[in-house]
Symmetry: C2
Subunit: 344 residues, 2 copies
Amino acid sequence: MITQKDVARLAGVSVSTVSRVLNESSLVDEKTKQIVESAIKKLNYKPNLVAYGLRAKSSKLVGLILPEMNHYTYASFAQFVEGSCMEKGYSMLLGLHHNECELEKSLVDEFQRRNVDGLILCLAIDEQNLSNNLMEYISVPTVMYERTFNNNRMGGIRFDNYKAGKMAAKYLAGLNHKNIACTVGPMGMHYVQDRFFGFRDELTVQGIEIKKQNVLECDFNYRVPNFVSGEDAARAFLDGRSDRDIPTAIWAHNDNVASGVIKELHRRKIKIPEEISVMGVDNIGLTDMIYPSLTTIGQPLKNMAEKSVEMIMEEIELGEEYKADIVIMEPELIIRESTGKCRS
Amino acid sequence: MITQKDVARLAGVSVSTVSRVLNESSLVDEKTKQIVESAIKKLNYKPNLVAYGLRAKSSKLVGLILPEMNHYTYASFAQFVEGSCMEKGYSMLLGLHHNECELEKSLVDEFQRRNVDGLILCLAIDEQNLSNNLMEYISVPTVMYERTFNNNRMGGIRFDNYKAGKMAAKYLAGLNHKNIACTVGPMGMHYVQDRFFGFRDELTVQGIEIKKQNVLECDFNYRVPNFVSGEDAARAFLDGRSDRDIPTAIWAHNDNVASGVIKELHRRKIKIPEEISVMGVDNIGLTDMIYPSLTTIGQPLKNMAEKSVEMIMEEIELGEEYKADIVIMEPELIIRESTGKCRS
DNA sequence: CTGAAAGCGCTAACAC
DNA sequence: GTGTTAGCGCTTTCAG
């Protein structure tokens, strides 16, 4: 390993001069600067970031903690976070907690022991369960992703799930659908609730009532893949019903579930969207790859990732002055082929 | 931040004693050990890993460098690598180079400056272009993922692409298909070549000749999504052909492309697999979510990830003694709904 | 068995 | 302007 010492020796100066050149603390003679710089180049010296971090008490490291990576939204979010960090001269540590609190805690610990400058965190559990527990462990600037809560100490960023639900309902109502079904995840999760309440409220505004048997809570327990829940849901909405009772539109609370719905409809040779319109939320990569391509409400993942990193940077900069804020990002209606006018 | 100093003060011992307790270098009296341990607990002291790393010249950090995260195989591989690292007490830095050599180089640089103990690297470019360039920059234990090459300095791990091609061909031939089409990526990439050569060679073994117009090189340039290439390919295999000329089976060189093929077939109301069988490679999450679910040749991503980390650990341990090895992992035939017996 | 001291590679006061 | 010195939090000789 080449160190400042080596450079200093070659250039015939002291290490602090080398340091000064590197940090552009202008108080260095142009001539010595040149000499040092050529020595740096000759030795191909690169400052060691561990030592820098120890001394400067800043690691230039951001820790990103997510549930998993097998899910498009997380993978994509991670990709954008990485990009933003890189751009700002930070590297990204990635940890996955698989929705296990123990793992989550040890990741937080580990990352803090690595002096991360900031943490972007998507909690394993609902905000209720956590507040007392994990919160005290965290002593670095943190942005909560997706599961936010107000503690005016940590920033948060999330998607406007309520509005997403409303947009979906409005769009389907605008296509003249009256008999509408939907899936929901476990209502314990805020974001799940929000999506559903938005959907229901907007239907009410539109003068549409959603029948109880047309709302299906999926067994969203991480043991059954989402799309299988979708297949089950489609079955529930179709089996043993008279034609009049069959919904003309199905809104799934996420795209994975929607893909399962579509799969089951294909299996039954039901035409999409001619007979039944299908819609999701998230705008994952899959939406364009299936037939028919899926109409959905998109999350602005890139913006959310960039904003998260910006918030972290701001928090790092301001320190105590920082005032925690929860940023809620706008959903976007993305119309593809899986939805159409109601024909009955 | 709580440091050893604080613990030492509280326990009434020296920092070196604290360090000894932490590192279990047994030469410490049971009684003082107890005192120190209770002080540690009381203060909730956690050793700082940056300082440890600087001193020990081991960061307990593995750097994973991949092209991107929007692709299922990479996301999944990353997930498994993270899990393996975690298990072994390592954290994972993640970097994405988006197939840009410049970015790749700066990631390697950056990670090395962070004293990563090892690197798992999926190159941005084909091995040819790189050897002179990047190789010299890398001075830590490295495992090449997916794009391997023999330089007996770095380990490598990849999927047996040739065999994957063979397995696909054998399976389709076994279903009695004779008129078979396939897609290929840019033949400059070894792994693309391997898949195709395996496919072609096995067809020859089976006494089947693949017509030139039934091999379509996709414009696999990262500007067009894979699945769009698949749609284009399907069109090319179908348009302006007499019924006799239309293939009864299409093998795509990856699952994303296969999904595009399926999409286009749906659009034309062609029954899968009754009229045309479709098959892919990789076994990405999508394969189960589309209709019909996709028969494919699976990569053992979990094994590959675990093996990569093991190789890194071995290399770290053995140092100069380490003998670089290229490990080639077995493909697995996964039969789903998109393929069936030839009916013509 | 334990404490004191040196040093990992770097930066920042403080002299000169 | 530049060199000297101290110190970030830790481990590891070396004495005792």
